[in-house]
Symmetry: C2
Subunit: 264 residues, 2 copies
């Protein structure tokens, strides 16, 4: 997926919303537990309810791996379903992988060849050779952790502005057609500084909703074209745990997409 | 698995060898490709050939995930096989995960509940809340990346001694019964400095063999009790690609174990 294709979606839907598929069997309506593939069955309903508002879906791999190979299979089913039915919507594997070169190449194969993901989130700690294998695929994206939304980003990311060094260094590894950065909505005061370092790259912004960030907070991260993908997971997919879960998810996605419209 | 149990293995086997199961279908003897579960079938032979020399096995999750759910299932089969037949041997999931707290808890469930791994490698970038969920399990270990063996450790880990800050900070999150650190054999000059910061924690040392490190190089990382787990992957499991692959792996493991004996 190219930048132009992603912007095409944003313009058509007047939205830069990403729906996070952090699917948890303890939180989905209980009737899904009778399904053979409950993670996938739930995801399918959520996707159908929200596809008109979302420009990206972001399944978080942990929520599938914790159910073992069976969960991993339902992750594959989910990604395949989206890319078959809605090939225009970006799929981000929120995997936060990072390993030495020959291993990183295996993760790239896992997400870009075995599954048709468009992008994968990556941890920068081990440096360039842990990212490079992901940059060898045309139309695929490496989304590198910059400043994350969690409280403990204060442990290593913030002291000495490590996150700025990561974004500054890594933005030289690939242009804005290949690399994006994660910048959490819980640090709105940092967005101007991040934009000064990487004016053109997309920022994937988690932390809106359950983690306390708002769309208004992240407006400072906008660039000339938009340059933002704003994620909400729990606030959308668990908007209701009752029979109306799909309608509630659609409403929550529609509301949030409308808030993002002015950024697009 | 407790520290005492791990030292019991080391003393009994006169070895601190970890065998890395980075199983790659392009590198295993071709007759395994006819097997229904070729990754597992190969691993089983390697385990049987090397169990008398190894105190740990370390499957790297990337090498299984790149074959999708089927690969993930064979990872589970491998871990289950080791812990059923050789419960005294430590199994380290080399997964290098790292995410916010509620997600990290899912990864902990994946490796410590769904699979009976004893330890998992973790990336420290996102800070304490990405590690804490793994510390809630008795007899399980978080192995946090300190200074890795790859060339690009020079990008972020080494400048400003970030790896020292990580080790120093994270060693306060849990004692040596809960936390280990990764310290690559390709940086032998750094071991004394690392030991000054964390005298008691185990160091998991990759980079011996294919990556250029030697057992002699890492002796400076020894502490009063030993405190080292020395990993070799490709040098052992691909010692031969012919019919004698198992004997060759046994010889390579025996040779390397013998080199580590003086550290134990």
């Amino acid at each position: 997926m190219t930048t132009d294709q992603l912007y095409g979606q944003m313009t058509a839907k007047k939205s830069c919303l990403c729906v996070g598929l952090d699917t948890d069997l303890e939180k989905v309506p209980s009737f899904f537990l009778k399904e053979k593939d409950p993670l996938f069955a739930f995801n399918k309903e959520i996707i159908e309810a929200t596809a008109q508002y979302a420009v990206c879906y972001k399944p978080n791999t942990a929520f599938y791996e914790c159910y073992g190979a069976d969960g991993f299979r339902q992750l594959e089913m989910t990604v395949n379903y989206i890319k078959e039915k809605y090939p225009e919507i970006m799929v981000i594997a929120d995997a936060k992988r990072g390993d030495i070169g020959n291993t990183a190449a295996r993760y790239a194969k896992a997400f870009f060849e075995n599954m048709p993901c468009d992008a994968v989130t990556l941890a920068p700690y081990m440096g360039r050779d842990s990212i490079d294998p992901f940059l060898q695929y045309d139309g695929k994206w490496a989304i590198i952790l910059g400043l994350t939304s969690n409280k403990s980003s204060a442990d290593f990311e913030m002291p000495g502005d490590l996150y700025k060094k990561v974004i500054s260094t890594a933005s030289g590894w690939g242009n804005e057609e290949k690399i994006m950065f994660v910048a959490g909505a819980t640090h709105p005061e940092m967005f101007a500084g991040i934009r000064a370092i990487c004016p053109d790259h997309f920022l994937l912004v988690p932390g809106v909703g359950a983690q306390g960030g708002t769309v208004k907070d992240v407006a400072a991260g906008r660039n000339a074209k938009c340059g933002l993908i704003i994620n909400s997971s729990r606030g959308i997919i668990y908007a209701s745990k009752e029979n109306d879960f799909a309608e509630a998810a659609a409403r929550a996605a529609s509301d949030l997409a409308l808030q993002t419209a002015e950024l697009v």
